[in-house]
């Protein structure tokens, strides 16, 4: 019975303590990585904007300029380089330092330089919009477009064979896709850039283009096109042109514009398909699909690798923050939330109701 005393060898005690210490260090390390990779959004500012029929009114705030019109609202930063914008009709647009409004009945366009106060009346017939600090005008029949410079002159003009159904632009590239599956990639002078022939969706029963996204560094762009089958294609820069790097045959079908964006670092591509969320790792070509029933109302890149999605389903409306191909966390928002915009170091959420509109700015914790 003397031998019934339980004792652990001293050598084992020595092992357990360092093991726990190591696990604790690993946990702290991973926890700190998680915090840095998935910044938590905090509501920092809510601005209620009454809808009044006034021309753009600039109000300098601490870091952002808030503007309002009868049917547009947004924020731009004080360095006049970033714009956060939402719209309720297609007749006007506010971009970095300019405001353009179309008067289709009079077949003219008014372009205001918001900082010099200069106003130009231009003989253009169409609807202005702004992307990446550039001003485009879309023909009312969606079968033609032009780009304006800040002096109101047309940089280039182009006509399309069928109505434009998808579009994307960055600083020097713009891409236009139409109902018949034609995809035109243009430089900032309107010159067509070679993307090759025999495009992946050319074998589809109908070849409509549903989504285009150009990466911020302009080294890649992606397209979702084709009705039966629906194809997702990634193009990468190849000399002076682009070539197909990856093409995926998607299940299901589309029948309207599909939201699709690259993360700001270009590593992930995300699209809101009718049957779920699709994610493509652009470096490895790894494709992920998350089936879901919710409706994606808007989508924007945020930070380096995050993509934020405004979602509505039976559980209400929320922001879902994805990082590296996985949902990191979700944030409930008002059911009237309408659009989201990456405001550099903050996210701007627009809500609207019959009586008033509200911009809510989310900062990063």
């Amino acid at each position: 019975m003397e031998h019934a005393v339980i004792s652990y060898p001293r050598r084992k005690k020595k092992l357990i303590l360092p093991l726990f210490a190591l696990l604790a260090v690993i946990y702290i390390f991973i926890s700190s990585r998680r915090a840095s990779e998935y910044p938590i959004l905090m509501r920092t500012e809510a601005i209620r904007l009454p809808q009044t029929a006034v021309l753009p009114k600039l109000l300098q705030t601490q870091t952002l300029i808030q503007f309002e019109t009868s049917d547009r609202m947004g924020l731009m930063n004080s360095s006049n380089t970033t714009v956060a914008l939402t719209a309720k009709n297609g007749k006007n647009v506010l971009g970095p330092g300019f405001y353009a409004e179309a008067f289709p009945e009079q077949k003219k366009l008014v372009l205001d330089d918001l900082f010099s106060g200069n106003r130009m009346e231009l003989p253009y017939y169409g609807f202005p919009f702004s992307r990446a600090g550039r001003i485009f005008i879309l023909r009312p029949d969606q079968m033609g477009a032009l780009e304006l410079d800040k002096q109101g002159a047309a940089r280039w003009t182009r006509e399309f064979g069928t109505p434009v159904t998808a579009f994307s632009a960055q600083s020097t590239l713009s891409a236009w896709g139409d109902l018949n599956g034609t995809l035109l990639l243009l430089d900032d002078t309107g010159i067509l850039i070679d993307i090759g022939s025999n495009l992946p969706w050319s074998a589809s029963a109908f070849q409509c283009v549903y989504a285009i996204a150009i990466s911020k560094d302009q080294k890649a762009f992606a397209v979702i096109a084709g009705y039966k089958p629906l194809m997702m294609s990634l193009f990468i820069k190849d000399g002076a042109g682009f070539k197909v790097a990856k093409s995926i045959k998607l299940e299901g079908k589309a029948d309207s514009e599909i939201p699709m964006v690259f993360s700001n670092d270009g590593s992930w591509l995300m699209a809101a398909l009718p049957d779920g969320v699709a994610m493509l790792h652009t470096k490895t070509g790894r494709y992920l699909h998350q089936e879901r029933k919710s409706t994606v109302r808007a989508m924007t890149p945020f930070g380096q690798s995050q993509i934020i999605v405004l979602v509505r389903d039976s559980n209400g409306e929320r922001l879902e923050i994805y990082d590296k191909g996985a949902e990191a966390y979700a944030l409930p928002v008002e059911e009237s939330a309408y659009d989201i915009v990456d405001g550099f170091n903050s996210l701007i959420l627009t809500e609207e109701s019959e009586l008033q509109s509200k911009l809510t700015r989310y900062g990063v914790k």
Partner: protein, 318 residues
């Protein structure tokens, strides 16, 4: 020991990732729903016709692709019957784009048929309501929701695209609506533009139908309207025939408009469509060789319903 520690770390990391990420799975499938057939009455029409007008744009002009403009009578149900059977391959609502969307002046749906034709129905004053099946049978209703139903009734357009041949097709070839068009088109002006020279000659109905022109090849431009005085239905200018001294030298029909990466153009003109217009907005029909001598030029145009108009010019070619 290293293996044990590595294993523990691996298990820990796997556990962490699985708890923090969303569930990822294989591509989902969308069920194909059975097409739904809807029958109903069709509203009466007050105005109807192919719009082939010039539109001012980018300091120049463009030709509208072939659209059938349909205005329903006041009080009618704002709906059309689909002339096509197939799935909706694209739908668009009116309104401003979000930050990632294009501005949208009109709502439209594109119905794709098995034979490669796409029927496009557009309403610029309301949003087209699509069936949950995303499918239209031929004859089923296409309805619109609008804050201004009276305006929506008068704001329909239909167009047809042939994906097999990459051409717009005259929508009247697919039309199932009965209408009456008894009025002939009216010539407004005719012009001759030198192809290899800068010679230009114009005629309008206020002038005498005699012209002195230089010998050479000319592009023939015409401004012609097919609209009734009372604003009723019209079928649109469809065919042109040019006779020189009784012999047909040029014959064109507006059945298709071909498209390319540079746009589209009627009568085999070079895209974009603004190349099909002269500086005064006249439509370029084709080219004529005018050789020295005195010639009688008969220019005839007919609308889709067969109502014809003609002009006779006496040309002295030097």
């Amino acid at each position: 020991m290293r293996i044990l520690m590595g294993g523990l770390i691996f298990i820990f990391v796997i556990f962490f990732l699985s708890s923090s990420g969303g569930s990822l799975m294989a591509e989902g499938e969308t069920e194909n729903s059975e097409p739904r057939k809807v029958l109903g009455l069709f509203g009466s029409i007050t105005s109807f016709g192919t719009a082939f007008q010039n539109t001012s744009h980018d300091n120049g002009s463009s030709v509208a692709a072939m659209n059938l403009a349909i205005a329903l009578s006041k009080g009618a149900v704002p709906q059309l019957e689909s002339a096509f059977s197939g799935p909706i391959i694209y739908r668009q609502l009116r309104g401003g784009g979000k930050t990632t969307s294009l501005p949208r002046a009109a709502s439209f749906i594109a119905v794709g048929q098995d034979d490669g034709f796409i029927g496009i129905y557009q309403n610029s004053a309301g949003n087209i309501v699509t069936p949950p099946t995303s499918w239209y049978e031929k004859g089923s209703k296409i309805t619109v929701e609008s804050e201004n139903p009276a305006l929506a009734q008068a704001s329909w357009q239909m167009s047809v695209f042939d994906t097999n041949n990459a051409t717009w097709v005259n929508p009247l070839l697919f039309n199932t609506i009965t209408f009456a068009d008894t009025a002939a088109p009216q010539f407004i002006s005719i012009a001759f533009h030198g192809v290899d020279s800068s010679h230009e000659y114009a005629y309008d109905k206020k002038l005498k139908p005699t012209m002195q022109v230089k010998q050479g090849k000319y592009r023939l431009g015409m401004e012609i309207q097919d609209r009734t005085q009372k604003g009723g239905s019209f079928s649109g200018v469809h065919s042109f025939r040019i006779l020189m001294d009784g012999v047909t030298v040029l014959e064109k029909k507006l059945d298709t408009i071909w498209v390319s990466a540079d746009g589209y153009a009627p009568f085999n003109n070079k895209p974009p469509s603004k190349n099909s217009l002269d500086a005064h907005g006249r439509l370029i029909i084709g080219e004529l060789d005018l050789v020295r001598g005195i010639h009688v030029l008969d220019i005839m145009a007919a609308d889709f319903s067969g109502n014809a108009a003609s002009v006779q010019l006496r040309l002295t070619v030097e």
